[in-house]
Amino acid sequence: MRQYTEAMRKEAKRLLAEGSVQVVIGFAEGTLPMRAAPFFARKPEDAERLIWGPFCENNLARYLREYKGKKAAIVAKGCDTRSIVALMAEHQLPRDQVYIIGVPCEGMIDRRIVARRVPGEVLAAREEGAELEVEGQDFALRLPRSEVLYRSCSACLHPNPVLSDVLLGEPVELWSQDPYVYVREVENKSPEERAAYFSAEASRCIRCYACRQACPMCYCEECFVDHTSPRWIESGVTPAGLQGWQIGRAYHLTGRCVDCGACERACPEEIDLVYLNGKLNKDLRELYGFETGVKLDELPPLAVFLPDEGPDFGI
């Protein structure tokens, strides 16, 4: 994955020097090991700070709407480009205002899994082929990449950009068989178990709304959760308020979520969030054959219908 860094810097430098874009949105080295931070290169010399690696986990499409009316370039993985397409479908982003530097993605590494697998604090982590080399004060070990991927990444069906102006490497091969493994696991439980699981997960929420802030599709000027009239859901950190937030957030992303997992990565309480959106995506795929952000001219699934489609609601 490191080989992309050079190509990316070159491309960013060219774009900024030409003046064809005002900003290049990418990643820079984070302040901690296993972290990369979103970075906004505005001058050609900034381009030297751009990096690419297995920890570039944020969905950068989230920042694109903030550059409305200006031309921006974005470094985008498969899921990021799907978000961009979904934003275009909702008329949030004109195609000619965004220059997509596509990066074939091999899946991002879950720093939380790595931290749990090693005996101490991680001081450095480096990708070596299909392995991750982790070093700490008195240990150094190698972990297979496939075991430390994010859940949404190991289930990913679109690692290659679906839309790009320039592609930085050869498309990667698909590794996932079943995009909704984690949904099926929950579906197979009994209703009581599912209710218990949901209420346990929701009860850990502290309502910081980091999931909302990280999501490229959560761009409402006023979120339903901030409405006071009507007060859709209870505003406190109460069981009903927390569950209401989780249901509302997930459902509002029906047909808009691209399963990038940015919400779950942003969650400080590590709440299982992708299992909620995954279910909605799975249903849309099974009922209407819809996949978010894959086709450019496709309308959002809840804005269209077929007269003779199921399910039949009659009693």
Binding site: P191, R194, T238, I247, G248, K279, D283, F305, I315
Partner: protein, 148 residues
């Protein structure tokens, strides 16, 4: 427990059953079935359904117009997709699937409406009180303020 009656909220499209308004006289609905008339079933915000469940409803019924009979041409079709996904999602979260019922009725089907409500009442009665989702606390302070 024996005198427990299920609370049902009905979101009723104002146009469906409009030719059969006398259903209100012909069948008196029990007091624990609340009918909320809405301009179109397709525009019933799914959060209203969640809200009803979170405020203690044991079952929710959404009534729209029959396919092809929508006053706004396609509200019922759009609603169908909305409720198909919402129903399946709430079921996934542990709610019994019988508790959310969507039905599309013709303008003249007042008697069928009654049957639908009775069926839902029977189903929910046999399921017992809804306990999958946490119930909202009564907003004591707010109602106090509203009174003053």
């Amino acid at each position: 427990m024996s005198d427990w009656q299920p609370k049902i909220v009905v979101f009723l499209c104002q146009w469906s059953l409009k030719a059969d308004r006398e259903w209100e006289q012909r069948f008196e609905l029990p007091p624990h079935v609340r009918v909320v008339e809405v301009p179109c079933s397709g525009r019933v915000n799914p959060l209203l359904v969640v809200s009803a469940l979170q405020r203690g409803a044991d079952g929710v019924l959404v009534v729209g117009c029959e396919p092809g009979h929508c006053h706004y041409k396609n509200g019922n079709y759009l609603g169908r997709r909305k409720y198909a996904t919402l129903g399946s999602f709430l079921q996934y979260l542990g709610l019994e699937k019988e508790r959310l019922q969507v039905t599309l009725l013709d303008e003249t089907e007042g008697s069928r409406f009654h049957v639908v409500v009775q069926n839902l009442l029977d189903k929910v009665r046999s399921l017992g009180p809804a306990d999958a989702l946490a119930v909202r606390q009564p907003m004591a302070c707010v109602s106090q303020m509203e009174r003053e």
